[in-house]
């Protein structure tokens, strides 16, 4: 109700306002310098994606605001921008483009620069490519679109986090997520669970929690104008310590030259696909026997080691007798068809001395997981003002309200519907577990042998994992430009959010009868302020020099209260007030960074460009009371570009440039890692305080901690051929991180999980390629094809002294791991091999069960090869877009197959099912489960895949159809994640990691799903 009300109000306001009064129909003709008509020229209203194109005779018509500007562009021609200014006929002549690729891109510190001047690789993505077939987490929309950007979504359900890796993993233990900079303001986007208080899934072996999402997922794609990906250190060096993992710059839409009202509506349905192929010959039970009593059936729980499925009537856990037949549709029967409906309305208005854009958006999502979903409202206000000559003020506010209902618990079975549907015995129909509760409201336990395996309906409908986020991203910047070109700019940005997380284990839960409630409130603020002065000097005719100097200040604080209530007094009243025992914990984190930086841009004529930058950061997190550490680190960078086509330009070449860059970046760490501190457990023991070493120091602190550094060298070229119809962008890079701040894993017998050390070295080298070509281009039909590919070779060169191997994540199964091995790429998937006899045969116990051998690494969890191929076909007003992407060369540990083996679900367990093994005649169930625990290498799977990622089919209605009252109306059919063209994993999704921290491990996540629907966008 609410959502539609405000939409209606805004709509009415918009229609009644200035919209019609200020719209002018414009017609005209576009020709080339020789006077020939140019068909297929794109006409865009500047700053929008509203547009038209010329017909075969070069003519066009479009209805636009009279303050708007039209951008005429066509491949191979120089674009032209013309202000409408009440003209009703605009005839344009386009000159052939001899200096292609002079487009402007956003670079560090939000400085717009011509691409040709850059000595490093930048990829820019237009916001409109993210909005048609959209993802709830906009980061997931980037998959396959940028060479060298490796995006992995997680199986965490609605609003879950995304793992974004640029040019390979660059840090052994610190964050590898890029820095997001929204309109110049840096924004942290760690995957969930990073803060001490978070009860989200950290990827720990026993983490029995949902994915609580990340910060980037809050952004509404409709508000994004461009995303600029700064991949290398040369590009991101001005962000210093925050640029090590790359930078993603997001520019949100502003009002400039785009008056009017826009509306976008997107509705998609979502359906899971079932990748499991279990055995369907034997049913629930043990010892090849069907259950004979209800108690017995409940005790054997998830075991599918029963008798042959013969259709006979067999008693089940609830005492009901049902046919003993294969249930192949449990996933289909449990998960529902999800849907997402997003509506965004925005209006823009220019006036003398400024412009304002306001947008409001509502996302309403019902997950495929029953009783789970996400609602998000975003409000975006952007204004630019020129109060007087020379001064420009830009103010933006982005207010986000996000409510997630029942984020699904991942990994283990407790409270996790996914796990319990996935591993139901072959003869149990999931629907027989409905409604999840008994008449008295307690859990209908289907597995008394392991009550931690929760009834999936009880998990979905009775557990609560709700989050609520209220976030305000705001920034103000002012820039004063003197007559001679000197400018001074100041900017203050603040990202603040309040998160509420409610976690209820309801009373009557099988494994926790008395129930438990956690209420967590987190307040986070990140304040960034910076100042910049600069000026361009011209030296003679050919040289320009642009020095810039800046300083910045950052203060990041978070504060959290976690209230835990246990032992609910009144059954079914699942509130913290009803808890008999309550305790409160307090978490605090604070850090400050000071920085100064400068840059010097030199250019000679229009073909030689050089940029040198340096930055120095001082970190509070390196400070140790009583120790005089070096708290700072300096990062120099230099890059250059040479447009050789200015000097040498054979016929086939339209543009040619080579570039090179060298730079250093660095990284510090979280607060409180430099000294040992003490704290208290929340409760007391009969009034006596329970002292403990502070949870800040699960790792041994380091009094002499230093910042880590990474150096990167990159070289690349940009070439265009055949009137720019073929473009190639090629980059090689090599990056070495050293003196890493690592949490070197320790044996827990030391008392600590690890030690904070300056140790370790890692290298990434790789190549990125982007090839864009226009195979067909006629008046009516254009086919544009874009192929991007990247290969990154990561090598862990050293770890902490004496360590050859360090494991950082363990599968819930306990027999699969992800860790570092010296000499191998980051994130090795490790598992146990067979033990081999001296003659090479497999060693077995007297029972004939293979014995556990060495822990062996089987390859990296991070795909070294990534590729995307997009094709856009435009026929008159119809547009078809197809994106295929693939990733290769990685491994994933399938805990699904481990449990499938232990529970007797996997097809492999059919071999000798009713026979015995070894001298002691152990049965198949014992043999296979012992084997699974001893030798786990069979569960390491090849995670290569090729996926049909996205298809969009759109039609753009002619404005004339609506009497030019509507300037633009586009309707598209959209689909994402349609199907795997190729996949090597059995039973699991190769992209199905349950957590961004522990890529390479999976279990109990939401099954993969495809979405399809319709997108409508209109401009009035």
């Amino acid at each position: 109700m609410k959502k539609t009300t405000w939409l209606t109000i805004l709509l009415l306001l918009g229609l009644h306002g200035w919209v019609q009064a200020q719209t002018t129909p414009v017609t005209g003709k576009v020709s080339d310098v020789k006077g020939g008509a140019l068909p297929g020229v794109t006409i865009l209203v500047r700053g929008t994606n509203q547009g038209a194109s010329t017909n075969a005779d070069g003519t066009f018509s479009i209805a636009v605001a009279d303050t708007a500007a039209l951008v005429f562009s066509s491949v191979g021609y120089n674009p032209q921008t013309i202000r409408v200014a009440r003209q009703s006929v605009i005839n344009v002549t386009l000159s052939e483009n001899t200096q292609a690729l002079d487009e402007v891109v956003v670079t560090a510190l939000n400085v717009s620069r011509e691409r040709k001047t850059l000595g490093y690789s930048v990829t820019e993505i237009q916001g409109n490519s993210l909005t048609q077939a959209r993802e709830n987490n906009v980061a997931n929309s980037l998959v396959g679109k940028v060479a060298g950007l490796n995006v992995n979504s997680t199986a965490g359900g609605p609003g879950s986090s995304s793992n974004v890796i640029i040019r390979g993993v660059s840090s052994l233990n610190q964050t590898n997520q890029p820095l997001y900079v929204i309109n110049g303001v840096p924004v942290e986007s760690q995957p969930s669970g990073g803060a001490g208080a978070a009860t989200g899934n950290n990827g720990g072996q026993y983490d029995n929690a949902p994915d609580l999402g990340d910060a980037i997922s809050n952004i509404n794609p409709d508000d994004i104008e461009t995303i600029s990906v700064l991949k290398g250190a040369a590009a991101s060096a001005l962000y210093g310590y925050r640029g090590k993992a790359g930078v993603i710059l997001i520019t949100t839409k502003s009002a400039k030259g785009n008056d009017g009202l826009e509306f976008n509506s997107n509705y998609v349905a979502e359906k899971i696909y079932n990748l499991t192929e279990w055995q369907y010959e034997y049913g629930q039970g043990t010892n090849n026997l069907k259950p004979t009593t209800a108690v017995g059936a409940a005790q054997v729980g998830n075991s599918s080691w029963g008798g042959k499925l013969d259709g006979s009537n067999v008693i089940q856990f609830d005492g009901t007798t049902r046919p003993y037949v294969a249930q192949k549709d449990n996933l289909k029967n449990f998960y529902r068809t999800g849907n997402s409906w997003t509506n965004t309305l925005s209006f823009s208005k220019s006036f003398t001395g400024g412009a304002v854009r306001l947008s409001a958006s509502n996302l309403s999502n019902n997950s495929v997981v029953p009783n789970s979903g996400l609602d998000r409202q975003t409000f975006n206000l952007a204004g630019t003002f020129d109060p007087f000559k020379h001064l420009t003020i830009d103010a933006r506010a982005n207010y986000i309200l996000e409510q997630a209902q029942n984020r699904p618990i991942l990994a283990d079975g407790a409270g996790n519907a996914n796990f319990n549907v996935a591993f139901l015995p072959t003869s149990i129909d999931v629907r027989s577990l409905q409604p999840g509760t008994k008449a008295d409201g307690t859990e209908l336990i289907y597995n008394t042998g392991n009550p931690y395996n929760t009834n999936p309906y009880f998990a979905a409908y009775n557990f609560v994992n709700d989050t609520r986020r209220e976030r305000l991203l705001s920034s103000v910047s002012a820039r004063y430009t003197f007559d001679k070109g000197l400018f001074i700019q100041g900017r203050v940005g603040r990202d603040g959010y309040t998160d509420r997380y409610t976690n209820v284990t309801p009373s009557g839960t099988g494994y926790l009868t008395a129930g438990k409630v956690i209420e967590l409130t987190t307040q986070f603020t990140d304040l960034n302020a910076d100042g910049l002065v600069g000026r361009t000097f011209k030296v003679g005719e050919d040289f320009t020099i642009t020095p810039n100097l800046g300083t910045s200040y950052r203060r990041t604080k978070s504060e959290a209260f976690r209230n835990t209530g246990t032992d609910l007094a009144v059954f079914g009243v699942n509130t913290i007030g009803n808890a008999k025992n309550k305790s409160t914990e307090y978490f605090y984190s604070d850090q400050e960074i000071h920085s100064v930086y400068g840059s010097l841009d030199l250019s000679y004529k229009e073909f030689l460009f050089l940029t040198a930058t340096t930055r120095r950061d001082w970190f509070s997190t390196l400070a140790t009371p009583g120790v005089d550490n070096d708290l700072s680190v300096t990062y120099p960078a230099v890059s250059g570009s040479f447009v050789f086509s200015e000097l040498w330009k054979p016929d086939f070449l339209s543009f040619g440039k080579i570039r090179a860059g060298f730079s250093k970046v660095g990284q510090a760490t979280n607060p409180y890692q430099t000294q040992l501190s003490y704290a208290f457990l929340a409760p007391t023991l009969n009034g006596l305080p329970l002292g403990t070493i502070s949870p800040d120091n699960v790792n041994i602190p380091n009094r002499n901690l230093l910042a880590s550094t990474a150096t990167e060298f990159e070289i690349g070229t940009e070439l265009a051929f055949v009137q720019n119809r073929v473009r190639l962008d090629l980059t090689f890079y090599k990056k070495r991180s050293k003196n890493e701040i690592v949490f070197a894993p320790a044996s827990i017998s030391s008392g600590y999980q690890g030690a904070v050390l300056n140790a370790g070295e890692m290298e990434n080298k790789g190549v990125e390629m982007l090839l864009t070509f226009v195979p067909v281009k006629t008046a009516d039909f254009t086919w544009t094809s874009s192929l991007n590919g990247a290969y990154n070779k990561n090598t862990v060169l050293s770890l902490a002294a004496g360590q050859q191997q360090s494991v950082y994540a363990t599968s819930r199964s306990g027999v699969g791991f992800v860790g570092q091995v010296v000499g191998q790429p980051f994130g090795q998937v490790l598992a146990y091999d067979y033990k081999y006899n001296p003659d090479g045969s497999i060693a077995t116990t007297t029972n004939g069960v293979p014995v556990r051998g060495e822990l062996t690494s089987y390859g990296t969890a991070f795909h070294p090869w990534t590729a995307g191929w997009s094709n856009d076909f435009t026929f008159k007003r119809i547009n078809l877009g197809v994106l295929i992407d693939g990733k290769f060369g990685a491994k994933i540990f399938s805990a699904t197959d481990y449990y499938g083996t232990v529970f007797g679900l996997r097809k492999e367990t059919l071999v000798n099912r009713e026979g015995t093994f070894g001298a002691d005649k152990v049965d198949a169930a014992t043999y296979y489960s012992t084997l699974a625990n001893n030798v786990s290498k069979d569960f390491v799977q090849n995670a290569n895949f090729i996926k049909l990622r996205q298809v969009t089919l759109g039609y753009s209605f002619p404005s004339a159809l609506f009497g030019n009252h509507i300037q633009r109306l586009n309707l598209s059919l959209v689909a994402r994640n349609l199907f795997f063209i190729s996949r090597k994993t059995d039973n699991i999704d190769p992209e199905g990691s349950y957590n961004a921290f522990s890529q390479g491990l999976e279990l109990g996540g939401v099954p993969p799903s495809r979405t399809y629907g319709v997108n409508l966008s209109a401009k009035f």
């Binding site: 026997l289 259950p291 108690v295 017995g296 005790q299 008394t448 042998g449 392991n450 931690y452 494994y511 926790l512 009868t513 000097f537 300083t551 246990t566 025992n581 305790s583 307090y586 978490f587 605090y588 984190s589 000071h594 100064v596 001082w618 509070s620 400070a623 009371p625 009583g626 607060p671 409180y672 704290a679 457990l681 409760p683 007391t684 023991l685 009969n686 329970l690 002292g691 403990t692 800040d696 041994i700 894993p745 320790a746 044996s747 827990i748 017998s749 030391s750 008392g751 600590y752 690890g754 030690a755 902490a800 004496g802 191997q805 306990g814 860790g819 029972n847 822990l855 152990v922 014992t926």
Partner: protein, 529 residues
């Protein structure tokens, strides 16, 4: 243009100076205001945590559930169950469960016991205001390490919990023989150094800082450690047993126990009770006293039987509500045989057991023992006297019969510390002793069987198992269950946790290879040769 550049230079230097000048506050910013440093913290708080930790994990009795109950209690036939994941009842191997006592990064003995106590010992060293606290810490550390080495054999000891002080993150495994030598030295030295005139350890929940009681505790612990060595090093055992004569616990009031607290939920509630009340499953209904144990009490008309056991406590498998009319009459008590299940197979299904009627007819531990705020016993006078009886029997140190009588008496009378309802009348014990007089000929069996019964009632099955492995008494008949991991023998040791393969590979490999009998449930620790 030159002047412009000069301006820039001035601005740059100013910025640099400002930035670096402000870093003075960084020490404060990087000190968490919600935590404390050694100068602002009282080390006594760590003692409380370590003492509570020794009763089991604050995270849902993690180690108690798996090591004390699922394995130890069933292997020594104190408890019995048909719950399928209670692997110890059938000598099946569940690596995660046998690793639980050692623990992981947040739960278990190393992180919840060794870490705080080792830190406290270091923290208090050479600080006069913590003179006694330091010695109590050394005794506690020895107590904690003893159980770890008893369960696993050679374990990280000398470098354990020292990560912050030494930087060692892969502690070596010390030989159990050397560990025991050092434990004895530590406890002897620390006990001798306790000074009644010095500080009162305020964090002590055993004795509220009573130093005289701590001295008796230290000597009793020394006795227990010494007697653990009767098989492996009888001379050392005798030497220490001789040294402590007359210095051990004097009565049940010297018993060391932790009284739990309901208000702190899982963190402070009684560990055994959380599990046996069915907080995490159906243990309340399906975990029973073992037939072996109940038969022993019943056949000997033991006055404890009607105190520690009841039938009809839970009437259905779904309720957690205790039946107020539970039957504590000794005559109806019936233990459940070990090694049974609900599989429907006649040889193993409990319903096919000869005397099976219904589950509520089997004896459960009485509600008085299983209270959320009930005590966890650590070391008792009754243990002390039975150990002294054995020392007397072996080496003529005093009167075995006298110590036996005192031990058996205390082993009944201490039950009132659980709950007044468990009070055994002294006359009933006297009757029992008259009926079962000490006999030197079967002395070792009598003493150690009594010790087994005592530690079973203390729900300290770690101790029951250790003493059974050392003494061989009582003689237990192993259960026969298919696919067991020990060739049908009662397990003697927990294998090393597989987490050590990844976090401490070199030391793990060496230690694992050195276990006599193999790094499995059948291998043996040094004192169990």
């Amino acid at each position: 243009m030159k002047t412009v550049f000069n301006k820039y230079t001035t601005v740059a230097f100013t910025a640099l100076l400002l930035s670096s000048g402000c870093t003075k506050e960084f020490d404060d910013i990087n000190t968490n205001p919600s935590t404390y440093t050694q100068s602002s913290f009282d080390a006594n708080y760590l003692l409380t945590t370590a003492q509570l930790g020794y009763t089991g994990s604050s995270d849902f009795a993690y180690d108690t559930w798996r090591a004390n109950l699922i394995y130890s209690s069933t292997m020594v036939q104190g408890l019995s169950t048909v719950v399928s994941y209670w692997a110890g009842d059938k000598y099946l191997l569940n690596e995660a469960y046998t690793a639980a006592y050692w623990g992981g990064t947040t739960v278990g003995a190393y992180v919840e016991q060794v870490k705080p106590i080792t830190d406290m010992v270091q923290f208090t060293a050479d600080k006069p205001k913590y003179k006694n606290l330091h010695q109590v810490g050394r005794i506690m550390r020895a107590l904690i390490m003893e159980r770890l080495t008893d369960l696993y054999g050679d374990v990280p000891y000398s470098q354990a919990g020292q990560g912050y002080y030494t930087g060692v993150i892969t502690p070596k495994y010390d030989k159990q023989q050397e560990i025991y030598a050092d434990l004895l030295k530590e406890v002897e030295e620390a006990t001798a150094a306790l000074d009644p005139a010095a500080d009162i350890p305020t964090g002590d929940v055993y004795y509220r800082g009573n130093i005289d009681q701590w001295k008796r505790f230290g000597n009793t612990l020394l006795l227990r450690m010494a007697m653990r060595l009767t098989k492996a090093d009888a001379a050392t055992a005798q030497a220490y047993a001789t040294k402590v004569q007359g210095k051990t616990m004097q009565s049940n009031t010297d018993n060391a126990f932790v009284t739990h607290d309901i208000s702190g939920a899982r963190v402070t509630q009684n560990r055994n009770s959380q599990v046996l009340l069915g907080d995490g499953g159906q243990e309340n209904y399906y975990v029973k006293w073992s037939k072996t144990f109940i038969d022993y009490l019943k056949n000997n008309n033991d006055p404890r039987l009607s105190k520690i056991a009841v039938t009809q406590l839970y009437l259905t498998d779904v309720t957690k509500n205790q039946n107020a009319a539970a039957n504590s009459s000794a005559a109806v008590q019936k233990g459940m045989p070990n090694g049974k299940d609900l599989s429907g197979r006649p040889a193993y299904d409990i319903s096919a057991a000869p005397d099976y009627t219904t589950f509520p007819d089997y004896s459960s531990p009485s509600p008085g023992m299983i209270k959320r705020n009930g005590p966890t016993f650590v070391l008792t006078y009754a243990e002390s006297e039975l150990l002294l009886a054995e020392a007397a029997q072996r080496w003529g140190l005093g009167s075995a019969a006298q110590h036996y009588s005192a031990g058996v008496t205390a082993a009944s009378t201490y039950l009132s510390q659980y709950d007044a309802a468990l009070t055994v009348a002294p006359a009933d014990v006297a009757t029992y002793l008259t009926a079962h007089p000490y006999s030197a000929a079967t002395g070792l069996e009598m003493i150690n069987t009594q010790y087994w019964a005592l530690t079973n009632t203390m729900l300290d099955f770690y101790e029951s198992w250790a003493n059974w492995r050392r003494s061989g008494f009582p003689v237990l008949t192993p259960v026969v269950y298919p696919n067991n991991a020990t060739n049908g023998q009662i397990p003697r040791r927990f294998p090393y946790p597989t987490t050590e393969i990844t976090s401490n590979p070199d030391n793990y490999r060496a230690a694992s290879a050195a276990v006599p009998g193999g790094d499995n449930l059948s291998g043996r620790v040094w004192w169990d040769r």
